[in-house]
Amino acid sequence: MKKYIYTNIVIAILMLLVGCSNENIKAKLPPVRISDIQINASFERSYTFAEAYEESDMVAHIRIGDWLGDGEYITYFEAEIIEQYKGEVINEIVLLQDGTTSETLKGYPLFTNENEMLVFLKHAVNTEYEDAYWIIGAYTTLLDVEIDKNGNQYYIDRYGILGETISTSLNIANNEELKKELYRNAIKRDSIVAEMEYEYNYIYNKTSLDELMEGFKE
């Protein structure tokens, strides 16, 4: 009888530990993603898709992990490299986003866990993190990654800024059904998309932009 009791106690402790462990791996999210007071930022320069590629230290499809906290003017996130197009091969980076939880840039909510995007990055200097990178044009050089019901991957320029510089022949946003589907999927993935006035007018097949970037290497 005692043996059964001890066994049950051990199982209960193990279950408790597993529970605690799950609690520990819960993602750390930014407490605020759109601040009440917002920033209008003016940028040093604009980038075409080719220039953004050319001038970056790293180009990668990334997935946002934990929120690491605010700096004075920027926010830090862990990010996993899903696919890398340029730069030092690495699995994880610390990503710097313009804005903080107290003041975000207008129309540019702070990222959150599981956001996926194609970003053009510069190696950060004078930070406490070793492999830290910042997005060269903030929201002006950022493409969201989304998939359709068949698992096909797309890059979407929700701001329509970088997309304006990519050949119109590659833009498949005139496929209204696909556009609606990707927009719905984006909202499912991150509900904040529904709060913003994004227009999905620049959508690209992953393969077409991959080929474009492959061409930049030559």
Partner: protein, 208 residues
């Protein structure tokens, strides 16, 4: 007895008359703008502007009238004379449209200061803006990033935000002061002209 009852009722009415704010506009002014400008082909369907027409107004955040005041931050040791000159010159580019005055006694509604962030492509920032219920600015901050080449033009751009103008990003708008990049091809707002919507307290209204 009746007199006693009347006094409190009368006081409440008086309180409403004198304490209630005068709501210049608590809702969108698009309808008002439409009524006013629908015959002007310059405006097309963009009554608060947009990339297509080369100007864009922030209805929720703008100045009230044509007088704007600012002061230099006294706590910023990096705010050297050169930065102050950029601000003064940037403000003067709006002369004839709005009057932007430097209040030396520190009582300006806006504060001009610097910051330093190497890990960002941001040259200047218009931030810390507080408004009243009508979207009229009560206080604001313009910050210049010391890591970049700030000019009087970039400052004139930031003052455009104080006035109530949004950034423009379309390549067709590189010749507008409110183009969101320092690579803009103009250094002052020559293409803009005041449309005088101050009667609606929308703030100055600009068009090509």
């Amino acid at each position: 007895m009746k007199r006693i009852k009347i006094i409190p009722v009368f006081s409440i009415i008086l309180l409403f008359v004198f304490v209630s704010p005068v709501y210049a506009h608590t809702t969108s002014q698009i309808g008002v703008l439409e009524q006013t400008y629908h015959t002007n082909p310059n405006y097309q369907d963009y009554y608060v502007g947009g990339e297509e027409v080369g100007w864009s107004i922030d209805e929720t955040l703008h100045t009230n009238g044509t007088s704007i005041t600012y002061s230099f931050a006294i706590t910023d040791p990096y705010l050297e004379t050169a930065y102050k000159v950029y601000a003064i010159e940037g403000a003067s580019k709006w002369n004839g449209i709005v009057n932007i005055t430097n209040k030396l006694d520190g009582t300006g509604k806006g504060i001009i200061k610097t910051y330093n962030e190497e890990n960002s492509g941001t040259v200047d920032r218009f931030r810390g803006a507080y408004t009243d219920a009508n979207g009229h600015l009560t206080s604001w901050i313009i910050e210049m990033n010391r890591s970049y080449n700030v000019t009087s033009t970039t400052l004139a751009h930031e003052f455009g935000h104080v006035i109530g103008l949004n950034d423009l990003y379309a390549s067709k708008n590189t010749n507008k002061l409110m183009y969101g990049y320092s690579s803009r091809s103009v250094s002052s707002p020559p293409y803009y002209r005041l449309k005088g919507l101050t009667q609606y307290c929308v703030g100055p209204y600009f068009a090509l």
